[in-house]
């Protein structure tokens, strides 16, 4: 359910100190967020190791997102160290934090305030046993990638998020252009929600909007071709008009959903995304609105019997 974004706020662990096995004063201390999947991943990864887990109050949000918001942060960490009296429990002065907590925590600041040295462990909890064995994270353990499996895990969320949009766009189009128009709307949305995440690394160009335009245009071509073949009694200008309407309204739908996928990725920067929004959202609007207006006009022309 958490994957679908439903009841995500309920997946919480109480913040504070937890014991794994029977730890003593030399046992390692791991720090994590109070998002239960994060906590569980850590506990599973270090099964069989005696240690402590210090859970920060991130309001049930995962480590990376919470670090970005600052809730997985220096102040919260210092507070939890003091509340748990960690200095009295362990002899050493070392904390193991997930690397993705680093955007919220100033390691040198924590050291100054608590004398605890922050060591950033691997990105993925599953690499912890190897990290503990060698004492250092390899480049591969430090790298955040975004493989196909992870990209596809987001698809159900995207589909749920665009259900209303699909109906709002697809239903009126049925009355304007019949089943073909509704299918076109759904195909453009499907391309943005499913094909885009799947094909992301192989799409040309270096930003999400133009990648999306490209994909949307590919998907629009068959619809334009079908429209250009026309319906019974359609004049040439009507067939050309419908074909143009598909080419205008479909690519911006796919491009917009593709642009929104930036929020799900692990590598887009905010200044780059902002530039994209300013450069391409106007283009999307100037294709989408005329495309729909053209369709409406063609539907009206058809209804009053023009061209036949």
């Amino acid at each position: 359910m958490a994957h679908l974004g439903i009841n995500r706020g309920k997946h919480r662990v109480d913040p504070g100190l937890y014991a794994l096995g029977s730890p003593d004063q030399d046992s390692p201390v791991f720090v994590t967020a109070n998002y239960s999947p994060s906590f569980r991943a850590l506990r599973t990864a270090v099964r069989g190791i005696d240690g402590y887990v210090l859970v920060l109050d991130t309001k049930g949000v995962n480590v990376w997102c919470a670090a970005g918001k600052g809730t997985f942060g220096t102040d919260e960490l210092v507070l939890r160290i003091e509340q748990a009296n960690l200095g009295g429990l362990v002899k050493h002065r070392r904390l193991i934090l997930p690397q993705l907590g680093a955007p919220g925590v100033a390691a040198h600041e924590v050291k100054k305030r608590t004398r605890f040295k922050v060591d950033y462990g691997p990105v993925r909890a599953a690499d912890l046993p190897r990290y503990l064995a060698t004492g250092e994270a390899t480049a591969e353990m430090r790298r955040v990638d975004f493989p196909l499996k992870q990209r596809l895990e987001i698809v159900p969320v995207e589909i749920v998020n665009t259900l209303i949009f699909s109906v709002v766009l697809g239903l009126p189009l049925y009355f304007a252009g019949g089943m073909l128009a509704t299918l076109a709307a759904l195909a453009a949305i499907f391309a943005g929600n499913v094909l885009f995440p799947a094909l992301l690394p192989w799409l040309p160009t270096s930003n999400f909007s133009t990648k999306g335009f490209f994909l949307g245009a590919l998907v629009a071509v068959p619809f334009a071709v079908m429209a250009s073949l026309g319906y019974h009694g359609a004049a040439t200008w009507q067939r050309a008009g419908w074909a143009l309407a598909y080419l205008l309204f479909m690519p911006p739908v796919t491009a917009f959903l593709s642009l929104n996928f930036t929020g799900s990725t692990t590598f887009t920067s905010w200044s780059g995304v902002k530039r994209e929004i300013f450069a391409y959202v106007p283009v999307m609007a100037w294709m989408f609105a005329p495309g729909l207006l053209l369709m409406g006009a063609l539907a009206v022309a058809h209804a009053i019997g023009a061209g036949s």
Binding site: V61, V123, A137, N260, F267, T268, S269, R275
Partner: protein, 86 residues
Amino acid sequence: MYEENTLRFDRELCTDCGVCLQVCPHEVFAQTHGEVEPANRSACMECGACQINCPAGAVTVESGVGCAAALMYQAVTKKKQPACGC
């Protein structure tokens, strides 16, 4: 991903401690013959981990969420902080 970003590195201030290499999720920094450089600058996603962890203040980056939905929502509602649903 994008050619340009807000990552700035001050060679004069850098003490080559290497903490930026540890915290960066995209291997932006490299250390050759002891000297740290942002060798792979365009891979930066502006998460801000290097800036907050740099004890010398040699790295600056305007960090924020690289999420179009959050940034557009922010533009529409004129809020100071982009609301990130994640």
